[in-house]
């Protein structure tokens, strides 16, 4: 009997030991190429940390946002590491939903993070998320079509030049359109582009007292220019085009210019996916001479929710995935062209990277040109270039996006869309108590 009891005790100790020592991290992420690559390299992390296992939850961006918000707001504790955007970081940090990242390790080199990106993920001087990859927006254009038309793209084009070139390069019979821009409604879709464009025209979402500004001449000029330009030189059905639709159009050779995320540069120059891979040039997003370019700033970041009970292991993972060594690891496995861009200064000083990424310098210049703390010509009370980092923005942005998408589709006029946007935004801001 004693032996049996001893054996049972021994077995239960043996069974219990690995369970006690092993920490399982649940990581929520989006289905973007760089994240999928990170998932594939997880074994490199677990090899170094045999006491940690990793479980991935990959979801579509909007589903992930809803799922993660529900969990973090209820302190559900289902996730240990979250993939969140620059929009969420300041809002969630202020609400105390995120754990500040103070123990990323001595060799992490926080100073190497690009200053604009670091600002975007810090609140009150504390880092609340670590950037995994960053992006801005820029002009991608067809060098062959520009040459044929006798045009030369300046490095810092103005809107006048872009509009004129788009008109000249449009050949609707041949199925070539001067410019492809986002038109699909959504705060992260058409409003990302239009807010950045509006910044370059001197417009802003709110004045210093949180009054919505869609009734100003700057917004009218922005929206009128956009709608007219797309009518004259854009592809048909542009009001339902988002990033992926425009990427497909550009890769098929249908667009002479495309203004969108810098991350697209590696897609359009990849001969496996693009018919025009060797005919693409890059330039900064257009301006009107007011001091702001029409480019945004975004980063996907890794953060720890306050509900997690495994913060130590989670921080270890974040430090690994956003480190310089991770970049080297990706380079050794998949080549320098595939490393996550837009987060570290050292990457843009690396000759091997610069050799394979012709768009690298412009990506860096675009990121540098965007300032989330001073996004507009006139002063604003909010942080964020293509969004205002307040919880109400998702709803407002999408409502306004629907109005502007309707104006592009022709189902409403520019004036009516602006008036409706103003009314909807005023109503929401009053309801939220920003204005009376």
């Amino acid at each position: 009997m004693k032996h049996v009891l001893g054996a049972v005790c021994g077995a239960s100790v043996l069974l219990a030991v690995p369970a006690m020592a092993e920490t399982t991290l649940t990581i929520a992420t989006v289905n973007n190429g760089d994240m999928i690559r990170m998932q594939g390299l997880t074994s490199e992390f677990t090899k170094k940390n045999p006491d940690i296992t990793v479980k991935w939850v990959t979801l579509e961006e909007n589903v992930l946002r809803q799922r993660v918000t529900t969990d973090i707001a209820t302190k559900g504790g289902q996730f240990d590491v979250l993939t969140i955007g620059t929009y969420e970081v300041p809002i969630w940090a202020k609400k105390g939903w995120l754990v500040p990242l103070a123990n990323l390790g001595a060799d992490y080199d926080v100073a190497d993070l690009l200053p604009k990106i670091r600002d975007a993920v810090s609140t009150d001087g504390k880092l609340y998320a670590a950037p995994f990859y960053g992006e801005s927006s820029m002009v991608m254009y067809r060098t062959d079509l520009f040459e044929k038309a006798g045009l030369k793209m300046p490095e810092k084009p103005t809107w006048d030049f872009v509009i004129d070139a788009a008109r000249k390069l449009t050949d609707k019979n041949a199925g070539t359109y001067g410019i492809c821009l986002r038109g699909k409604a959504g705060w992260g879709e058409n409003m990302a582009f239009l807010s950045a464009m509006a910044n370059s025209y001197g417009a802003r979402w709110f004045d210093e007292k949180w009054e919505p500004q869609f009734n100003t001449p700057e917004w009218k000029t922005t929206l009128t220019t956009y709608v007219n330009l797309m009518k004259e030189a854009g592809p048909p059905g542009a009001s339902s085009n988002g990033f992926n639709e425009n990427l497909a159009l550009f890769n098929a050779g249908k667009c002479a210019m495309w203004i969108d995320a810098t991350v697209a540069a590696s897609f359009v120059t990849n001969p496996k996916d693009s018919k025009v891979a060797d005919k693409v040039g890059f330039a900064l997003a257009p301006n009107t001479g007011l001091g702001k370019n029409a480019n945004w700033l975004w980063a996907w970041n890794l953060a720890i929710p306050a509900g997690s009970k495994k913060t130590e292991a989670a921080e270890k993972f974040i430090a690994w995935a956003t480190s310089k060594d991770y970049t080297k690891l990706v380079a050794s496995k998949d080549g320098w062209a595939n490393v996550p861009p837009g987060t570290r200064t050292s990457l843009y000083q690396n000759d091997e990277y610069l050799k394979v990424a012709p768009f690298a310098k412009l990506t860096l210049a675009s990121i540098d040109a965007a300032d989330p703390n001073k996004p507009t010509v006139k002063p604003v009370p909010y942080v964020g270039v293509q969004y205002a980092a307040i919880p109400e923005f998702q709803g407002i942005g999408t409502q306004v996006g629907q109005q502007f998408s309707a104006a592009l589709a022709g189902s409403t006029s520019v004036d009516a869309a602006l008036a409706a946007a103003q009314t909807a935004t005023e109503r929401e801001m009053k309801r939220a108590g920003y204005i009376k």
Binding site: N32, E60, E61, Q66, R67, Q78, N244
Partner: protein
């Protein structure tokens, strides 16, 4: 002459029915075709219908990246479990309401249906908090329970209308012949109720299999069924249609096969009883 006209009508209506059927089936066919294309071909405009470079690359990628069988097993357990429990509760409930109705039966039926009128997102936070407190988040039993509750009103309604169709005279005749309640249930009622039961079971199974709101919101990895498997292949930046189609084809395959084999029962049940 009249016979020719009738034949012509039959031919026309047959062609019409086939065309309509094809139209309904087309999105599924298109999805299956897209799963054999490369990402570039899946996005190409104009799209190619059959003449493209056929590839299994997407299926290989999906297999490499995700554990299909883990998700499929979860789907089988969650959909099967919730359906069985729903039937166990619904059969006696519908039985008593059909054969011994009271003054309040109608009100109870309407009240049960009214629970379906509220969009699920309205109760997401309370349910999430309850599940968190009782430790049911990311558990199969939690999903079985919520899907069972969600589908219960429909199951009861369907069974109630099937049972109501069964003539009471037959039951009385059985009783007069000396049948006990047990015998009456097994030998008289069950054979008559089988088409209705089968179609309710199948419909509920399909509803539970495809349910994407609760399964996405209350599961993370351990209990994640095929709906989360599909959701992981949609991407805001980058081409994903072909891989998403491959994942979706794999996800619907089991239920499609089941539906195919049991379509006779399903159609019979649906046209015979309740939802006519």
């Amino acid at each position: 002459m009249a016979r020719m006209a009738t034949r012509q009508r039959v031919v026309i209506s047959t062609i019409g029915a086939w065309l309509f059927g094809f139209l309904i089936f087309f999105p599924i066919l298109w999805m299956v075709l897209a799963s054999f294309k490369t990402e570039l071909e899946a996005f190409a405009i104009p799209p190619s219908f059959l003449f493209f470079h056929w590839t299994l690359e997407n299926y290989v990628t999906v297999q490499e990246r995700s554990d299909y069988f883990h998700h499929a097993m979860n789907s089988v357990i969650i959909a099967g479990g919730s359906t069985l429990i729903a039937l166990l509760i619904a059969i006696p409930a519908a039985w008593s309401m059909a054969f011994s109705p009271t003054k309040r039966t109608k009100d109870i039926l309407l009240w049960m249906l009214s629970t379906k009128m509220m969009p699920p997102v309205g109760v997401l936070v309370p349910i999430y908090l309850i599940y968190k407190t009782v430790g049911l988040l990311d558990s199969r039993i939690g999903l079985v329970f919520i899907l069972c509750l969600g589908n219960l009103p429909i199951v009861i309604w369907m069974l109630f209308t099937y049972f109501k169709e069964i003539p009471r005279d037959i039951l009385e005749a059985a009783r007069m012949d000396g049948a006990t309640i047990g015998r009456e249930l097994v030998y008289v009622l069950t054979p008559m109720a089988i088409p209705g039961l089968a179609s309710t079971l199948l419909l509920n199974l399909i509803l539970a299999w495809n349910e994407a709101f609760w399964t996405l919101n209350l599961s993370t990895s351990n209990a994640a069924p095929l709906t989360t498997f599909i959701a992981s292949y949609s991407s805001p930046e980058g081409l994903f249609w072909a891989k998403l189609s491959a994942a979706s084809t794999l996800a619907i395959a089991p239920i499609l096969v089941l539906g195919w084999f049991s379509q006779k029962q399903l159609v019979r049940g649906l046209t015979f009883g309740a939802v006519k």
